[in-house]
């Protein structure tokens, strides 16, 4: 009982929008396609919806191939970024649209539409036209409309990006709550990593038409596999290292990792989160996981302070350190040492 995407490719002229995408979405799961604009996430969603045709590959839902099923017969619900409520219909009529297309008896349509409006807490707005509602309300109606025909799959195309910050935050939790209550399999496209961390069971990080990494929010944050994922989710300091005989070195400083180090000699990168770094008094150059550095600048953000430092071995780098609570704040120009625990380090490709 799941949606399976197999070796999907799509080109627009010279541009490769999707390059051999394979993916499985389990039943009842909330999946986020996350990536920068132009990474192919929206194209993938539109192909799943049936609004675009793939060049190669196939999509199956519960083992049924969808390629011959027209978008209007797939029974998928879609919420678009631009609300796209029909401006000539009230909230109630908008919600009932899919049911009218299915030629349900009129009383059933009205009952069901009212239920769905109640689900998104807009029962009192039933007779309003879209132009009389706020953006957040319109998007709630759009959600109710998509859910009314009981879709087997709910597709959300950047549903929150047109809304202002406060409404966006509210709707995140509301959409997630409704999704869990209905148990409907959901795919959401977003470029907002915070949104995907808050809402998704499973995040598919995409870049340049390919899937970089798939995993739960926690596993992606804690164990990014590529520099792209490390950088895109949560921000990570990337330190260039040299691998020699199974040991890693940053400049002359030996770096100890809790994970297995690559055995092949050469260049590599380790990633470390800003909150996993601490600043301490300088020690001699060769102490493991202690990198001599100079404080460049400081940004005070209330609950935390960001300190930007340059390592002596790579003065061109700008490493971010986040200090919380009452930690002593250094001054620019101070010479200190960056230190970190072996467990906090990730060797990236």
């Amino acid at each position: 009982m799941s949606l399976v995407i197999n070796s999907l490719s799509k080109h627009f002229g010279e541009v490769t929008a999707l390059n051999n995408i394979s993916l499985e979405v389990p039943q009842g799961c909330f999946v986020c396609f996350l990536g920068p604009s132009g990474c192919g996430k929206t194209t993938l969603l539109r192909i799943i919806a049936g609004l675009e045709q793939p060049d190669n590959g196939e999509i199956t839902l519960n083992n049924k191939n969808l390629s011959q099923t027209h978008a209007s017969n797939r029974n998928f619900g879609v919420v678009f970024q631009s609300y796209s409520l029909f401006p000539n219909m009230t909230a109630l009529t908008n919600v009932g649209y899919g049911l009218r297309c299915r030629r349900l008896p009129k009383p059933d349509i009205i009952t069901r539409s009212k239920e769905m409006l109640a689900l998104v807490q807009l029962q009192d707005q039933a007779d309003k036209l879209p132009e009389q509602m706020s953006g957040g309300q319109q998007q709630r109606v759009a959600l109710a409309r998509a859910l009314a025909p009981d879709p087997s799959l709910l597709l959300l195309d950047e549903p929150l990006s047109a809304l202002d910050a406060k409404v966006r935050e509210e709707l995140r939790h509301e959409i997630r709550a409704i999704q869990q209550r209905l148990g409907v399999t959901t795919i959401m496209v977003t470029h907002d990593q915070e949104e995907s961390l808050v809402m998704a069971d499973l995040i598919v990080v995409m870049n340049e038409g390919k899937i970089e990494q798939t995993g739960t929010p926690k596993s992606l944050y804690e164990h990014p596999e590529t520099t792209f994922v490390a950088d895109f989710i949560g921000g990570m300091n990337l330190l260039p290292v040299r691998i020699e005989n199974g040991a890693a070195y940053f400049g002359d400083t030996p770096v100890t990792l809790a994970e297995k180090t690559a055995t092949q000699n050469g260049e590599g990168k380790i990633g470390v989160r800003p909150e996993a770094l601490t600043l301490s008094a300088p020690t001699n150059d060769t102490a493991a996981n202690h990198i001599p550095c100079e404080v460049k600048s400081i940004t005070y953000l209330g609950n935390l302070t960001r300190v930007f430092v340059s390592p002596a071995a790579h003065p061109e780098l700008k490493v971010t350190v986040e200090l919380h609570g009452q930690s002593p704040v250094p001054s620019p120009g101070e010479h200190l040492a960056l230190s970190f625990a072996p467990e906090a380090l990730r060797l990236l490709t």
Partner: protein, 560 residues
């Protein structure tokens, strides 16, 4: 807590005509009539012009072009059209500039007043000019001038007045788009108003200017009403077709001149489209609208000019109105209503014929052009470009040429559609396809503005293409469709050149009555007929404007 399980059953029919099937059916419905009522008649002219006594050949062309008269007509037509262009374009530009870039009292009135020539057949301009400047015109008669208006200058002035609103509408739109930032930059750099006008305003509107020149030139080349009334002994190509075909039954000669007239029209239209494609992107999302600040000298000058211009344009319908109410212009100026008794010819029958034809044309025209626009914009596929080309093809065909094509094609006893010849139905069909391109473009613009997301939303909710049309698209664009309806009604009411070859005594229309009455010297009755045409058009505009206003759709342009 409400139950969230849902037990509704999908009751859509299991067999449904797919969207591809619908597309093919609609494309056929759109294309077959375009071929029958546009492409084939045009071919009819070509075939007729090429058929000589000994088979097909260019004999008609060579014999026509070897006469001195033909080249004289070409010279006359070109000369008059060029003169018209030189008069109209600068005046219309100045008028549009005054309205868009100066502070003038009662702008909405000025804007509407200057469009009045569109409410009457083109020949009314000539009619009014004769009443004003003719041998028995107001100026010669009452002020002692001795003007001779018949001929070259009469046609040029009448055409200039008739083309003025067309030119104004385009130039006004071009001048309405202005990026305040460029003007501010010019000012900050110390440019004086004249320099700003030359270096900022003119370059920003140059495409609009070029397009206007093409349109005015082509309209003058192909206009028939003004030269036939005020031309006197001065003939042009458009009047020559009429004289050859109606007067002397020289069909082959008429066909040759028809083909010749098609050349500037097609050239003008192609150039216009080429130029308009480059017009975009002058204004970006960051542009700010220009705020017109008061400048006393400029505002006074602009006001004086604009009011003088409006007075000139309005003088024509006003003098026609006056002439319709006096006993015998200009000898007996006592007021009377007797010319409105229409005790001449067929009485009021031609007027009612015009109204019926226009109502039928408007209704059929909206259906036909909307269907074409929907096929092109909602069912994109490999045939789209071709259908779109067919839909805008009529824009390049002068009314006289299309009318003549209908004569050749439908008056042929071998044509199964021959039964249409001489009927009202054919006049309606001709009017529908003659105005097809503009109606198509108006609806297309409206469809494009709706965007694709509503279609996609509807599709994903299970709606077929037809459901989307019925429940979403049509309800959203109905004000535009009503605008198209008015456009068709207005154009058909005032149309003369397209239908003149097709009318019979039984299918006489008002605009042709005006022509025949003027021809016979019954100028007062002719004026009364013209006033009735204008009255009906204005009444229809007001009615539809009222309906749109009631439904809150105020921004729909009705006059095009």
């Amino acid at each position: 807590m409400t139950t969230l399980t849902f037990n509704g059953t999908d009751r859509r029919k299991t067999f449904r005509l797919g969207d591809t099937g619908i597309f093919l059916a609609l494309t056929t419905i759109v294309c077959i009539p375009i071929f029958l009522f546009l492409v084939f008649p045009l071919f009819g002219i070509l075939v007729r012009s090429l058929s000589t006594d000994d088979g097909y050949g260019v004999g008609n062309f060579t014999s026509t072009m070897s006469t001195l008269r033909f080249w004289l007509l070409v010279r006359n037509s070109l000369g008059v059209s060029f003169t018209t262009m030189l008069i109209t374009v600068p005046l219309a530009y100045a008028f549009a500039y005054a309205l868009q870039r100066a502070r003038i009292p009662f702008k909405p009135f000025l804007r509407l007043a200057v469009l009045t020539p569109l409410f009457a057949p083109s020949l009314v301009q000539a009619q009014g000019l004769i009443l004003l400047l003719g041998r028995n015109g107001a100026l010669n008669r009452f002020l002692g001038f001795e003007l001779e208006i018949y001929g070259f200058y009469g046609i040029a002035i009448a055409n200039a007045l008739y083309n003025f609103p067309y030119a104004f509408l385009i130039l006004s739109a071009a001048l309405a788009i202005a990026d305040a930032r460029t003007y501010e930059s010019a000012e900050v750099l110390g440019a004086r108003p004249w320099r700003i006008f030359r270096t900022v305003t003119i370059p920003a509107t140059r495409y609009g200017l070029v397009v206007t020149c093409f349109i005015v030139f082509t309209l003058s080349m192909t206009d028939f009403g003004n030269p036939i009334v005020i031309g006197g002994n001065f003939s042009v190509l458009a009047t020559e077709i009429y004289n050859q075909v109606i007067g002397q039954a020289q069909f082959a000669l008429g066909a040759v001149i028809g083909i010749v007239l098609l050349i500037p029209a097609v050239l003008g239209k192609s150039l216009e489209r080429m130029v308009s494609k480059r017009q975009h992107a002058l204004v970006t999302a960051q542009s700010r609208n220009l705020q017109i600040r008061p400048a006393l000298g400029r505002d006074i000058a602009a006001s004086v000019f604009a009011y003088a211009m409006v007075l000139t344009v309005l003088s024509i319908p006003l003098i026609v109105l006056l002439a319709s109410f006096v006993r015998l212009w200009p000898y007996n100026m006592t007021l009377t209503l007797r010319h409105y008794q229409f005790d001449v010819q067929n009485g009021t029958a031609p007027l009612w014929n015009s109204v019926y034809i226009s109502l039928a044309t408007a209704t059929l025209g909206v259906l036909v052009s909307t269907l074409a626009a929907i096929v092109v914009h909602k069912f994109r596929n490999s045939l789209t470009g071709f259908v779109s080309f067919l839909a805008i093809l009529p824009a390049a065909v002068p009314g006289m040429v299309l009318g003549l094509g209908y004569v050749f094609f439908f008056n042929n006893p071998d044509n199964p559609l021959n039964f249409l010849y001489g009927s009202f139905a054919l006049l309606v069909i001709l009017s529908v396809y003659y105005n097809h391109s503009q109606a198509f473009l108006i609806t297309s613009t409206s469809l494009k503005q709706i965007g694709a997301t509503f279609d996609e939303a509807s599709t994903m909710l299970g709606g077929s293409a037809l459901t989307t049309l019925r429940r979403v698209t049509i309800p959203l664009i109905w004000p535009t469709l009503l605008g198209v309806w008015v456009f068709y009604f207005m154009r058909t009411m005032v149309s003369l050149s397209a239908i003149i070859f097709l009318i019979t005594p039984a299918t006489q229309v008002a605009s042709v009555s005006v022509l025949q009455l003027s021809d016979r010297g019954a100028i007062n009755q002719a004026a009364a007929f013209s006033v009735c045409i204008m009255g009906i058009v204005i009444g229809c505009l007001l009615l539809v404007r009222g309906v749109l206003w009631l439904f809150g759709a105020k921004s729909v342009a009705l006059i095009r």
